[in-house]
């Protein structure tokens, strides 16, 4: 089974194609110039499609980083960080 982190990295690579694998892990709107509102909409659509989850609009602002999204998805899927 492909784990949550790998699947999320694939979503980030699709929404923000200029990022390297190393940059994805630390990605946030503050650190990535290309991360605009269109990229956010695309990223959330990709995540919802990939993980079959529905992200509430009020949660989106807090989830705007790779780390926060990964934590959110792990909580949803019950997968541990280790």
């Amino acid at each position: 089974m492909v784990d949550t982190q790998v699947r999320l990295e694939r979503c980030f690579a699709a929404a923000l194609p200029t990022l390297s694998a190393a940059q994805i892990a630390n990605a946030s709107p503050a650190s990535v110039a290309a991360w605009d509102s269109v990229a956010s909409v695309t990223l959330f659509a990709l995540v919802e499609e990939e993980f079959g989850v529905e992200i509430e609009v009020q949660d989106m602002q807090e989830l705007l980083s790779f780390e926060n999204l990964l934590g959110y998805l792990r909580r949803k899927t019950g997968e541990s960080a280790a």
């Binding site: 694939r10 979503c11 699709a14 929404a15 194609p17 509102s37 269109v38 909409v41 695309t42 659509a45 990709l46 499609e49 990939e50 529905e54 609009v57």
Partner: protein, 579 residues
């Protein structure tokens, strides 16, 4: 297609120097994922082109539509939604839904409908349009409960139906089939209220993917297959002919074999639409012929040519049929009830589309019929579709008169009473010309395919000469069989496009075309932009016959050289119009 697959496809490199294919996306909502899906689908359909999809302004459907002519793209993709007929039909508008507002909404919709019709007729003449009419559920505007059809909703839907009916046959326009979209995308799973409010994109991803897929097929339709080879036993009819005999095979309700009759009905409809039908069956030849001649067959015997009924491998029968039809393996479909036979043919011909006839499952047979419609579907039928089968049979008879090199004797050609018609007219532009250019492989100067808009721009250029050639002889007409297009400068014609249907081979029509062009335009030289392709050997052979050497690119044929090399021709020439 999933969004992630579409985005990853967009990241794949396009080959350097690829010609652009520009598409304008006309909609009033945020184009977002629809733009991504349209781009990805077109990239898959046109791998040699650099796809550019440009959306218009948010909230301005009608302005975006009217700007299409200025943008002059290769195609326009037009996605209308209810709110484009009246903003009150969209979730984002807070306009009045009260009963008193309904008549006004209808009036607006009718006025927009008339505006759309005018725009499609004007724009479609110069830019191919792929159109999707409203696909989302109507908002709960009317005062009736959902289960009761309201006069308001029925009138709105009637207006959209009328708009579709007027747009579908308009020149340059193609409309998404709502029934096909219903199959791919259930109505209840289309609207995404959260996304509409959050980002102005009203489609759920699977719906956006389905709409984009159908629109892209309208922009770049897949090439229709040319021929279908079918098995007989447990396919065209139920039962094994060799075991149950002539009267034992069936295709009726009484014997629970009715779906075989429906399959026959579909085969006959395809045949009448110009699809070649052949039989590859492991059977006794005489018995199979007798069964095909049974008076209650839905599929008439004359619709099938050739019939290969023997005990050899099916791949060998398919080989003979391909030779008879003179088409490539990628242009045919093979249908059989036996997975083993399908595998044997597939191994010999990997590019043949092999389909199982699911004899025990009426539902799956029904699905097979839809699949066949898609594989052979075309936007319009031509005169040539009606005469293709008969002209092939005549070509076989002609080949029986051919010598060892496959050459038809001069006596035969002289006595054929051949007549070719040269048509240099560009208005009205004959759609058959582009069809021939885009599907002909063997006699094709360089294999280049054209998008509709690109062809229109090239041909309508005042410097371009277009020649469409029709042929008939005492055995019957072949219809329009050759297209040549190029640019005339002084006494030189540079030919970019030259194709000729394989049905017209061995009649020296190619010699006659060059002869007429030299004479009509007083040419000193014809430059042919030849490029070898994996399939255009007959073109190469013809040019080598004239040039007598390995071919340079482009090929230059002087009048003097042609006069010394050309072969005698026997056709009477008629000219239809001056271009």
């Amino acid at each position: 297609m999933k969004l992630i697959e579409a985005l990853e496809m967009l990241r794949e490199e396009t080959s350097e120097g690829a010609r652009p294919f520009r598409v304008s996306l006309v909609c009033s909502f945020t184009p977002s994922h629809l733009q991504t899906f349209v781009h990805a689908n077109l990239k898959r359909a046109l791998p040699d082109r650099r796809i550019e999809v440009t959306p218009g302004l948010y909230g301005d459907f009608w302005g975006n539509l009217s700007r299409l002519e200025q943008e002059n793209p290769d195609a326009g993709v037009v996605v209308m939604e209810w709110s484009d007929l009246d903003p009150r039909l969209g979730l984002r508008s807070l306009g009045d839904w009260s009963p008193g507002a309904l008549d006004d909404i209808l009036r607006n919709a009718r006025s927009r409908s008339a505006q759309f019709q005018e725009a499609v007729q004007r724009i479609g003449r110069v830019i191919p349009l792929a159109i999707s009419f409203p696909t989302l559920p109507l908002p709960p505007v009317a005062f009736t409960p959902q289960w009761r059809a309201s006069a308001f909703e029925l009138a709105l839907r009637a207006e959209v139906s009328a708009m579709s009916l007027r747009a579908a046959p308009a020149r340059g326009a193609a409309v998404v089939n709502a029934q096909n979209l219903d199959q791919l995308s259930p109505l209840a799973s289309r609207f995404d209220a959260k996304s509409e409010l959050n980002s102005g994109f009203p489609y759920k991803l699977p719906h956006a993917s389905a709409v984009a897929s159908l629109l892209s097929r309208l922009v770049q339709p897949p090439a229709p297959k040319k021929g279908l080879v079918t098995d007989l036993d447990d396919t065209v009819w139920s039962g094994i002919l060799g075991e149950v005999g002539l009267d034992g095979v069936s295709w009726d309700l009484e014997h629970h074999s009715h779906m075989h009759a429906v399959y026959q009905k579909m085969l006959y409809a395809l045949s009448e639409a110009g699809v070649l039908l052949g039989v590859a069956s492991k059977n006794d030849t005489k018995l199979a012929e007798e069964a095909l001649l049974r008076r209650d067959m839905i599929l008439p015997r004359k619709a099938v040519f050739p019939v290969e009924a023997n005990w050899g491998p099916k791949s060998e029968s398919v080989r003979k049929i391909l030779k008879s039809w003179n088409v490539g393996e990628d242009a045919i479909v093979f249908v059989d009830d036996s997975p083993m036979e399908l595998a044997e043919v597939q191994a010999a011909y990997p590019q043949v589309t092999c389909l199982l006839f699911p004899k025990e499952d009426p539902q799956s047979i029904d699905e097979l019929l839809y699949r066949l419609r898609d594989l052979f579907g075309k936007s319009a039928l031509s005169e040539e579709d009606a005469i293709r089968r008969d002209s092939l049979i005549r070509a076989q008879e002609k080949d029986m008169n051919a010598g060892e090199r496959g050459e038809v004797s001069e006596e035969f050609l002289r006595a054929a009473g051949a007549e070719i018609t040269l048509n240099f007219a560009k208005e009205p532009l004959d759609p058959r010309a582009l069809e021939l250019v885009n599907k002909t492989n063997q006699f094709n100067l360089n294999g280049r395919r054209y998008a509709e808009k690109e062809w229109l721009d090239f041909v309508m250029d005042p410097g371009t000469v277009l020649l469409v050639v029709s042929y008939k002889d005492k055995y019957g007409p072949l219809g329009k069989i050759a297209v040549l297009a190029g640019r005339l400068e002084n006494r030189t014609l540079s030919v970019d496009v030259w194709v000729m249907s394989c049905r017209a081979f061995s009649r020296r029509i190619e010699h006659r075309c060059l002869e007429e062009l030299f004479e009509r335009f007083g040419l000193e030289e014809i430059i042919l932009k030849f490029a070898a392709t994996p399939k255009n050997g007959p073109t190469r052979d013809f040019l080598m016959e004239i040039l007598g050497e390995e071919l340079a690119t482009p090929c230059r044929i002087s009048h003097t050289l042609f006069t010394s090399k050309r072969r005698e021709t026997f056709q009477q020439v008629l000219e239809l119009a001056n271009g």
